[in-house]
């Protein structure tokens, strides 16, 4: 059986990280193709439920990234997001959800190389953690189909 390839979903803001990931491209820096980017205007827009939904959709890892503090295109969206993440991440951890699978980052529009590093390190880390079956199997549908797929 081939090595497990994690599915990573990234929620990024349009102005910093999305642009940063564009720069990664323009700079032709290679990184793992496991990541799928969902573009949002601002990290402030990222509803915490989206992260939950990413896992229920089968993500093995999630990246959330936006502008560095003080750099938000909307001035304070990322500050609000940060507060939300602090509470949310702690809550998830408290519930025993594997927070190692959620990577929060600040990647600016100038940090093309950093974006590649972030993706690669998350892919490597999550690959080592293995598939997030514990979460996926919570819903009867995913559990069933997964058994079918395996068989």
């Amino acid at each position: 059986m081939s090595e497990f390839e994690p599915k990573i979903i990234a929620f990024v803001c349009n102005w910093c990280t999305y642009a940063g990931a564009d720069l990664t491209g323009t700079s032709r820096i290679k990184y793992a193709s496991n990541v799928r980017i969902v573009r949002l205007p601002c990290t402030g827009r990222i509803d915490f439920m989206l992260l939950m939904k990413a896992f229920s959709r089968g993500a093995d890892g999630v990246i959330v990234s936006g502008c560095h503090p003080n750099d938000c295109h909307y001035t304070s969206g990322n500050f609000h997001a940060r507060r939300r993440w602090i509470v949310f991440k702690s809550l998830l951890d408290f519930m025993g959800i594997d927070v190692r699978r959620i990577h929060f980052a600040w990647v600016s529009a100038a940090e093309g190389a950093k974006w590649a590093e972030v993706v690669n390190s998350v892919v490597n880390d999550v690959r080592a953690l293995g598939p997030y079956d514990g979460y996926k199997n919570l819903a009867p549908i995913a559990a069933d189909w997964r058994i079918q797929d395996a068989g």
Partner: protein, 262 residues
């Protein structure tokens, strides 16, 4: 003190200041229940003892209760905190509700208005009890895997009867997120995923708002300790943001500390 409360209820009703007094009365078994006293003479049915803990503020946002006219509500500290929060959230306005305050040592408190009630209750430190703290810490000390199994186990019984939500005075939304189906944010059935999503969402939506009255836990037919989640958030908000904000999630400090965003 009981007499004073009854007298106060009587006065409020007979003077026409309020049309209903929401308080506690004897229920079935050894339970107490919410009473809606409409006539001064009925005020003697009101009781006050250690069983009287239901957060009666839950009724302040109910349409049918509102339709009865201006209510007075018997309010211990958590209830007063709730009313304060409801005011902050524009669900209760000054003048709409009278409060028969009950101090921690069971004295009847007189408040000329909600503002003075809010001032009184703000002066009482908002923190978890030692037992509550210990319960949160006990869970914190477990490994993530142990916590996962703990919650999977306790939530497995949840049938999504929403008693936790309905008993919560701050869950007054006419259409809860779980009822938003475009998109379907929370999986409806009470399977593992649906339950987890529901409880995470509930806790997050109460983050920075919960007054730790404990009614969600008391309402749960299965006695699921789901207030541990909100209690955890209460400690987090106090520890990480100082707890001074009126609502921690629409405020921020440019130098809010975290150690995981890289």
């Amino acid at each position: 003190m009981l007499a004073k409360m009854r007298q106060k209820a009587k006065d409020l009703l007979s003077s026409g200041v309020v049309s209903t007094v929401i308080g506690y009365g004897e229920g079935s078994g050894n339970r107490v229940r919410a009473l809606f006293i409409r006539k001064p003479d009925d005020a003697d049915k009101l009781i006050l003892d250690e069983r009287c803990v239901q957060n009666l503020a839950v009724y302040l946002t109910k349409r049918e209760v509102r339709a009865l006219g201006r209510p007075a509500v018997v309010a211990r500290v958590p209830v007063m905190r709730t009313i304060q929060q409801l005011m902050f959230e524009k669900q209760v306005a000054e003048g709409e509700v009278a409060v028969i305050g009950i101090s921690p040592d069971s004295q009847v408190l007189d408040f000329p208005d909600l503002k003075s009630m809010a001032e009184y209750v703000s002066a009482i430190p908002f923190e978890l009890s030692a037992d509550e703290k210990a319960a949160v810490e006990k869970l914190e000390k477990m490994t993530a895997g142990e916590r996962w199994n703990f919650w999977l186990d306790v939530l497995s019984g949840c049938s999504k009867c929403y008693a936790c939500r309905q008993s919560c005075p701050l869950c007054y939304c006419e259409r809860c997120t779980v009822e938003c189906n475009q998109p379907q944010w929370v999986s409806v059935p009470s399977h593992g995923l649906g339950n987890l999503e529901w409880h995470i969402m509930r806790a997050m939506h109460l983050a920075g708002r919960c007054v730790n009255c404990g009614d969600c836990f008391r309402a749960c037919p299965l006695e699921i300790p789901l207030n541990l989640l909100t209690q955890k958030i209460i400690t987090d908000i106090a520890d990480k943001f100082g707890g001074a904000d009126e609502y921690a999630l629409n405020a921020f400090k440019p130098d809010d500390k975290e150690d995981f965003i890289r």
